[in-house]
């Protein structure tokens, strides 16, 4: 199954994603898309590593072009997170011509090749601030890819301070 988990900052999205795969017996791939720029990113990465420790994840770091990723057979993939992936496709050294299309190609590839795909994304753009054009473009693109991922998902959940609010589908106790 494909699951999209959204919500604001630090509201339990990763925890929910991991708990959904808590009883999954196959290989579990943690697909990290955040580039370790600076001490804050490193702290976030190390915090998430500690949270995942002992839960049996293999970590793969890939920042762009997810459609070229080789996924082990019958593995579950936890992609964290869409916000970083899109930023990488829009703003990194090898920028994609069409960042939304590049992201969605990767998502379709993962859907085809993984037993389960859990996508962690973000809600941005509800703060009333008008940002510089480039950032506004990022907000729009994130909305576009989120809506496309939601349409392609069996389950869509918004995390609100740790509480899962189901927007589509039904929350299983765990995925096997």
């Amino acid at each position: 199954m494909t699951v999209l988990i959204t919500g604001g900052s630090k509201c339990g999205k990763s925890r929910l994603a991991e708990s959904l795969l808590g009883d999954f017996s196959g290989r579990k791939i943690y697909l990290a898309t955040m580039q370790p720029f600076g001490s804050e990113a490193e702290a976030a990465i190390s915090r998430h590593r500690i949270q995942r420790a002992g839960k049996g994840y293999e970590t793969i770091e890939q920042y762009t072009n997810l459609d070229s990723l080789r996924v082990p057979e019958q593995a579950a993939v936890l992609l964290e997170c869409m916000g970083n992936l899109l930023a990488n496709e829009m703003f990194s050294d090898n920028v994609a011509d069409d960042p939304c299309a590049a992201v969605l190609r990767g998502i379709r590839h993962l859907q085809r090749n993984a037993a389960h795909l859990i996508i962690v994304t973000n809600q941005v753009g509800s703060d009333g601030i008008t940002y510089p054009a480039e950032t506004e473009r990022y907000i729009r693109n994130l909305g576009t890819v989120n809506a496309a991922c939601a349409a392609a998902s069996d389950l869509v959940v918004e995390c609100v301070y740790g509480i899962p609010v189901v927007l589509k589908g039904e929350l299983p106790c765990c995925i096997r």
């Binding site: 999209l4 959204t6 604001g8 994304t121 809600q123 941005v124 753009g125 509800s126 703060d127 009333g128 601030i129 506004e136 907000i139 729009r140 693109n141 994130l142 909305g143 576009t144 989120n146 809506a147 496309a148 991922c149 939601a150 349409a151 869509v156 918004e158 927007l167 589509k168």
Partner: protein
């Protein structure tokens, strides 16, 4: 009246067009208040509120008038109140006024829908 809310780029206009592909959309950022009073659907209503504030008009009074004079209108209003309180008094006033007008619209609307990732959540009433 149907009120559609949500953050930027969550599929608010797409939802209106899915419900009725013939809907004529009026952009609140560029239309006159009189246009809004006759419109089938106003999007960017938060921008209309800002324009009213800039013109020295009372957006809350106008919103009440809209609810009375154009009761079948669909209003698309961005949720903009979830950030830090702005330092600039004009931005603060704008944010608060959007909140006040949103409450007026939600009270008058028979249906309120909140869009997230293209998915509608019905907060009030029901959708077909």
């Amino acid at each position: 009246m149907i009120l559609i809310i949500g953050g930027k780029a969550q599929g608010k206009r797409s939802f209106v067009m899915q419900q009725d592909p013939e809907t004529v959309l009026t952009d609140g950022a560029h239309c006159s208040p009189e246009d809004a009073l006759r419109a089938a659907c106003v999007f960017n209503y938060h921008d209309l509120i800002q324009n009213l504030l800039h013109a020295g008009d009372d957006p809350a009074a106008f919103t009440k008038r809209l609810c009375t004079d154009n009761p079948n209108c669909k209003i698309i209003l961005n949720e903009i109140g979830s950030g830090v309180v702005p330092l600039d008094p004009a931005e603060r006033r704008m944010r608060e006024t959007v909140g006040i007008c949103g409450c007026i619209l939600a009270e008058h609307a028979e249906t309120v829908v909140r869009m997230t990732c293209g998915i509608p959540t019905v907060l009030k009433g029901h959708i077909s």
